[in-house]
Subunit: 164 residues, 2 copies
Amino acid sequence: MRVSRLDSFIRRLEAQRACLEHAAALITDLEGCVLEFGLGNGRTYDHLRHLFPSREIFAFDRQVAAHPSCVPDAAHLFLGDFSATVPAAIRRLLGTAALAHFDIGSGDVAATAALAATLAAAAPPLLARGGVILADQPMAAHAWAPLPLPPGVPEGRYFLYRVR
Amino acid sequence: MRVSRLDSFIRRLEAQRACLEHAAALITDLEGCVLEFGLGNGRTYDHLRHLFPSREIFAFDRQVAAHPSCVPDAAHLFLGDFSATVPAAIRRLLGTAALAHFDIGSGDVAATAALAATLAAAAPPLLARGGVILADQPMAAHAWAPLPLPPGVPEGRYFLYRVR
């Protein structure tokens, strides 16, 4: 029997949580901040705050749609089009991110692929050497080598990389 | 440590699924249709279709916001304000529903409580004797006796009743 949309939604969220926790374990020994691309409703941002109580976390989005308790303060929020906010972030955070999480998929397949390509081209200077990238889309950045997903997460559901 | 919003969202969805499956088991020996109040994005409606492949399922909502694959045909959709659609449904389905699922909570606590009270007053004629009611809000209908939740679902997260 095909699974229901409720089943697949739960699986997707559980996989997201498993991947975030796996990525957190991968950067235990690496200093640096955490970047959340696509603040959205703020649920994964809140999870990142729990996983990284002592790291700075910066979030990027076009506009704020998150629950008020899940909105970073102004110093940790890059608001606007990624084409403007990523260069601004590079000026402040060059090479200091230990983890970047890209949660950028939308219903529009072509627009999502274009956004993933744009960010894969623009975002690499933000990452520290050895930094980890977790994405809901494939991100083909030359400097990023694919890593295996944690157990139980099916191939293609998330994408994990480490800076070479 | 307080759980993150991602954690609590996953728990809520898992509890919802567990309650739907528990409710389905409770009506195995009871003929009748299934009612979904609050179609929303259609995820639980899709889950109900999987749980009840041979029962008629009717959905109620103010407007359609669901994924196109999760919208009932016109004969199984009551669209508009509940104050109009519930009486219309009673004329067609009087006493024939084996299960009613109320997924009606919104961010507005007062409006949600008022809606739950309205539906608890209006909806009982739809249910068959021995029918089961699952709700995300307390529904104090005189004819409905509370039932225990399935294992693992904390008190107050869902509300389960059976027609006396």
